[in-house]
């Protein structure tokens, strides 16, 4: 028993007795830490029982992760270990995720409150996510994080607490202090400000399931290659097929811009790019009239926004820009699928 805490009763529960939270994020935004803080606050600060866990495996920045929090009343045991499919609160940390991950899967109008980190209004967020309906919350977590010198996760924790209707801010503040107090005392005020602002500034709107968008029930995806048709031994014959992946969700707001007029086609950017985004073609340099490899531009499908090319370019031909200010689809130069001819 937690000392001196009167057990809290949950306002709503699912059929197994849990209030459930799912957070959709990418590695590096701190969803895992957010989950830890929420779990600790609920258990240590509020006397609830529960579990907190995440979906990720390897330690990669920029790849999609999910964090789960499952809470129940003190006298109940936590026995289920499976991931959360139909949460009461669904917090989406990173707008761009919606492009490549079915983030709204299992969002049920009337049960799920969806929170999106965005500058959009709740109605715009609904259209952006193609949500069937229900309670939608929006918060500009990136802006608040910058202003408070904290991180997106703190803002989102505050917003989740508000959406839950029962998670106690005092308990959350204590959990934040426990998590960062010793090592990062200097950042404490910013973290607590971000938490509070997330709680206070999230704006909700109840939107009717009016048939504009289809329901998004949770689907347990099964692979198309199974035991009847997968090559034995796990071999992959479609070589290089990772090129079908879209890595743009790894970016967090900045992109390199190619300024063709300043480019000398020296090739250093190509050497500095871990994601092989630069597209080259044999051609004639309009300035020198000489034949040679010409840099055509950037294939943003693969750009994770590391900005190494901007750091390396001596000629100002690659500059940092806010992604929101550009239509990336328009400025992207697609890599050709066919094998390059010999130069």
């Amino acid at each position: 028993m937690a000392k001196g805490k009167t057990a809290v009763r949950l306002p709503v529960k699912n059929e197994l007795g849990f209030f459930e939270i799912r957070m959709e994020s990418i590695g590096g935004l701190g969803a895992n830490v957010a989950g830890k803080i929420l779990t600790e606050a609920a258990i240590l600060g509020m006397g609830l029982n529960g579990a907190g866990f995440a979906s990720y495996g390897s330690e990669k920045k920029g790849t999609p992760v999910k964090a789960f929090i499952r809470l129940c009343e003190t006298d109940q045991l936590v026995r289920v270990n499976s991931p959360i499919e139909e949460p009461h609160v669904l917090a989406i940390f990173h707008e761009a995720l919606a492009k490549s991950v079915p983030v709204t899967s299992g969002a049920v109008p009337g049960k799920t409150t969806v929170i999106l980190n965005t500058r959009k209004s709740p109605r715009e967020a609904r259209d952006f996510l193609k949500l069937e309906g229900g309670k939608i919350g929006v918060v500009d977590a990136m802006e608040i994080a910058l202003a408070t010198r904290s991180r997106v996760n703190m803002v989102m924790v505050g917003a989740v607490a508000r959406a839950s209707g029962f998670l106690d801010m005092k308990a959350l503040e204590a959990a934040v202090e426990e998590a960062f107090g010793k090592k990062y005392a200097a950042l404490m005020k910013g973290n607590l400000d971000a938490l509070r602002r997330g709680h206070d500034e999230v704006r909700f709107e109840e939107i009717k399931a009016d048939g504009k968008y289809a329901p998004t029930p949770f689907r347990r995806e099964e692979p198309k290659l199974g035991y009847a048709n997968a090559p034995i031994g796990g071999a992959i014959y479609s070589v290089g097929n990772m090129r079908f992946k879209d890595l743009s969700t790894s970016r967090t707001g900045v992109i390199p811009l190619f300024v063709v007029d300043k480019c000398t086609h020296c090739g250093e950017c190509d050497l500095s790019c871990p994601d092989y985004c630069f597209v080259w073609e044999k051609g004639t340099d309009p300035k020198t009239k000489k034949e040679g490899m010409m840099l055509l531009g950037i294939d943003y499908q693969f750009c994770k926004g590391c900005m190494r090319c901007v750091e390396v370019c001596k000629f100002g031909a690659l500059v940092a820009a806010k992604e929101a200010d550009h239509d990336v689809e328009k400025i992207t130069v697609r890599q050709s699928i066919t094998t390059k001819a010999k130069a």
């Binding site: 936590v78 048709n229 997968a230 990772m242 090129r243 080259w280 490899m293 750091e311 094998t339």
Partner: protein, 758 residues
């Protein structure tokens, strides 16, 4: 299942913590106050050592933490340490357990107790890091007692009890505590732990060795050569001890209940009183499946669940008793004993009930959750319904089957992404000429022209933003002509370029575990030559073989690499040195320099980062007298490409070794875009000198002193979050020692550069 503690004033105080299974295993180890932990990081068990190291940096305990050179080495450290008479702890998973396997019967057969946490995970290959039981079930017959912890509370409790069981004088056997990777190891739960570690230490009492290897006044021979007729008697002693341990476990469970208020039974029986149909299932999935039992009970079905807390010794009597009224039993195994028509538990249970006269229990085996495939309440319901059907009909229609495997969409054909790269398309860019002095001269290193050489790795891989592995590999491959076959050790580079059904490799790629990459590449190159000799492959076919390892892979796997050097196998071995085991969360590798902070060499008031100097792999390979050894940094790409061109040439003679310093913004705690300036600082401070050794003759290719660019190591260290603490006043001795070591190695290298005989 652990029951919540009752408030009883007579019992020692307990406190509630919110920790994962791994964290609470570390908490238990801290409370036990082991003398030594010998370990080697492997997902998902790594966090145990990390947590203990972080606690140590804060002065919370004084357990000596010893990183092994691999799990085999870690197990050896543990064996040696137990023989020297103290309490010893270890943790591993999956292939780590298998790599240590040889040592397991050594530990049990020589009768030295210790505690080994097995955070269960799927055994490779293909490599899968998620949780199943294919590791622990292979360890069933190694002579260790095996306790099963189904949730995080049990992880703590079992870890408190385990030393007491194994150390009992009538037993003296090592003990494993097994719990589910990710499901239990990475799930934060509400756990009760003793407030005062002394409570645990008093419960266990002091460790009393039977023999020790460090008492010269009482000399002893440990581990003699023993053939027939003696070994059988030794094994009889061991087997008897295992049988006796059953009673000891029950006794310790009872003592622990008195201490903690939490009760454990050999079998956790859930709603079995009148059950006619039951499910036998171990660890975390059993807890989930209890919800399934409740669901079917609501329908009026007489179903129950059996979960063992001990699988060695196997609870034969308890199982017979529990099954006496059960007509239909489904045994769920999270692994398969291929060809045995059931998993390990199925076979053990069938053997156990075989001894019951008039046995009425019919058994079906279901393999589930392989490779960490999620287990849902509905899966439990499916298996229980099968058990009900068996009980009703008295017939097992499908004795052995996989639950959750899918046939796939038979019409589905994966889209092709690239046509194979023609040899001509990647040839004719770079070449080697012989200069007037007889030395190799490299031609064609033109960055712009080389953008036309098709990349052998496709975009779309999942590395972190700014990762140095892929700039290193592509820059190196810009200097390689023609066909290439690559082999990657386990590591970041491997994990992010393949994830079924995707691959980023456009050329042929092979993975093997990092104990053994170079040996595997030796086999490939030898077979290629042999098949050419036999006319099965055209005699003029040329392939350049390139093996890629991290610096971590060259801790655990350097043996086979030196083997390839000794055999003169003709391939290029590239080590991308990102200074740590970054794929598993940046634990220390032996290449990590003094004072650097990693997740197993934390900086804190009681520990100032890594305590030893960095391993110099390039010089190790120099001592192997192979044709070509080089170091390179992508911050000077021309030098790197030039060395690739030479490497391809020298690999026609024998093994080539190249070490590339590799930027890792995640673990180094730096901004993504700063690769070149930070790498260049490592070069300019002479920590990472750029040089090559051609047939024994050393040449420094870039001398920062000559160029007037040399800086103190502090100029490099201040650029990284993992090293900034080294510039603090309290770290001055560490900084000075590191600078002195860098100076000494650089001075030595300069002498080698001057003198062709060195």
């Amino acid at each position: 299942m652990a029951k919540a503690a009752k408030k009883a004033d007579a019992r020692p105080a307990q406190t509630i913590v919110v920790q994962t299974g791994n964290e609470v295993a570390a908490t238990a180890a801290k409370h036990v106050d082991y003398h030594i932990m010998g370990y080697y990081p492997i997902t998902p068990s790594t966090e145990i050592a990390e947590t203990l190291d972080a606690m140590k940096a804060e002065g919370e305990h004084d357990i000596r933490m010893i990183p092994g050179d691999g799990e085999h080495g870690a197990a050896g450290i543990c064996f040696g340490a137990t023989s020297a008479g103290g309490r010893v702890f270890n943790a591993t998973s999956a292939n780590g357990l298998l790599f240590a396997f040889e040592q397991l019967p050594v530990q049990s057969g020589t009768r030295f107790p210790m505690v080994f946490n097995i955070v269960t995970r799927s055994v490779s290959g293909p490599l899968d890091i998620r949780g199943d039981h294919s590791d622990i079930m292979l360890a069933m017959n190694t002579g260790w007692i095996i306790l099963m912890a189904s949730d995080a509370q049990a992880v703590y409790d079992m870890n408190v009890m385990a030393p007491k069981i194994g150390e009992e004088m009538s037993i003296r056997l090592p003990v494993m505590v097994a719990f589910d990777g990710f499901f239990t190891s990475h799930q934060k739960r509400r756990i009760e732990v003793f407030e005062d570690p002394k409570t645990v230490q008093n419960f266990l009492g002091p460790f009393v060795p039977t023999v020790t290897s460090v008492d010269p006044r009482r000399p002893v021979t440990i581990g003699p050569y023993m053939n027939d007729p003696d070994l059988i008697n030794n094994k009889k002693q061991q087997a008897d001890a295992m049988v006796r341990s059953h009673a000891v476990i029950k006794k310790v469970f009872a003592e622990f209940e008195a201490l903690s208020g939490r009760r454990y039974e050999i079998l956790d029986l859930y709603r079995m009183e009148d059950a006619e149909a039951a499910l036998f299932i171990v660890n975390s999935a059993a807890e989930t499946a209890k919800e399934a039992v409740d669901a079917l009970r609501k329908e009026g079905k007489k179903v129950g669940l059996i979960r063992p807390t001990v699988i060695r010794p196997f609870p034969v009597e308890e199982i017979r008793e529990a099954l006496s009224k059960v007509k239909g039993l489904v045994v769920a195994d999270r692994q398969d004993n291929y060809g045995a028509y059931g998993g390990a538990m199925t076979i053990e249970i069938k053997a156990a009930i075989q001894g019951v006269k008039g046995n009425r229990t019919m058994v079906a085996s279901r393999i589930y959750g392989i490779g960490g495939k999620e287990f849902f309440v509905e899966d439990g319901v499916t298996m229980l319904r099968e058990a009900v059907e068996i009980a009703k009909t008295g017939e097992v229609k499908v004795p052995y089957d996989y639950l959750g495997a899918n046939a796939g969409e038979t019409a589905f054909v994966p889209a092709m992404a690239y046509a194979p790269i023609p040899e001509a398309a990647v040839s004719g860019f770079t070449r080697v000429e012989t200069g007037a002095d007889g030395k190799m001269v490299v031609r064609g290193v033109n960055y712009r022209a080389l953008t036309a050489r098709e990349k052998r790795i496709a975009p779309g891989h999942g590395a972190c933003p700014g990762c140095g592995i892929f700039t290193n590999l592509d820059t190196f491959l810009k200097g390689i002509e023609g066909f290439v076959t690559v082999l990657f050790h386990t590591g970041c580079g491997m994990v992010v370029t393949t994830g079924f059904p995707y691959t980023a490799h456009k050329v042929t790629y092979v993975h093997n575990l990092f104990q053994n990459g170079a040996a595997t590449m030796s086999g490939i190159t030898e077979m290629f030559e042999e098949r050419k000799k036999r006319g099965e492959i055209p005699k003029d076919e040329k392939i350049t073989f390139i093996m890629v390892t991290g610096d971590g892979g060259h801790d655990i796997g350097i043996g086979p690499s030196l083997g390839a050097a000794a055999r003169g196998n003709r391939f290029i071995l590239i080590e991308y040195d990102n200074q740590g085991y970054q794929n598993t969360g940046s634990q220390l590798s032996f290449t990590v320099p003094l004072g650097h902070s990693t997740s197993t060499s934390n900086f804190g008031p009681f520990q100032h980062g890594k305590s030893t100097h960095h391993k110099d792999t390039a010089q190790i390979f120099n001592a192997a007298h192979i044709p070509y050894v080089f170091t390179a940094s992508e911050s000077i790409p021309r030098d790197l490409i030039r060395k690739a061109v030479k490497a391809q040439k020298y690999a026609e003679e024998g093994l080539v070794f190249g070490k590339l310093i590799s930027y890792c913004p995640l673990a180094w705690r730096t901004e993504d875009q700063l690769a070149w300036p930070i790498l260049q600082a490592a070069v300019d401070c002479c920590f990472f000198p750029l040089y090559e050794i051609e047939r024994g003759i050393t040449t420094i290719n870039y001398d920062p002193e000559e160029k007037g660019k040399r800086v103190p190591v502090g100029e490099w260290l201040k650029t990284m979050g993992k090293t900034r603490h080294m510039l603090r006043t309290e770290c001055k001795p560490v900084l000075d020692a590191f600078q002195a070591e860098v100076d000494r190695r650089w001075a030595r290298l300069k002498e080698m550069h001057k003198n062709p005989l060195l």
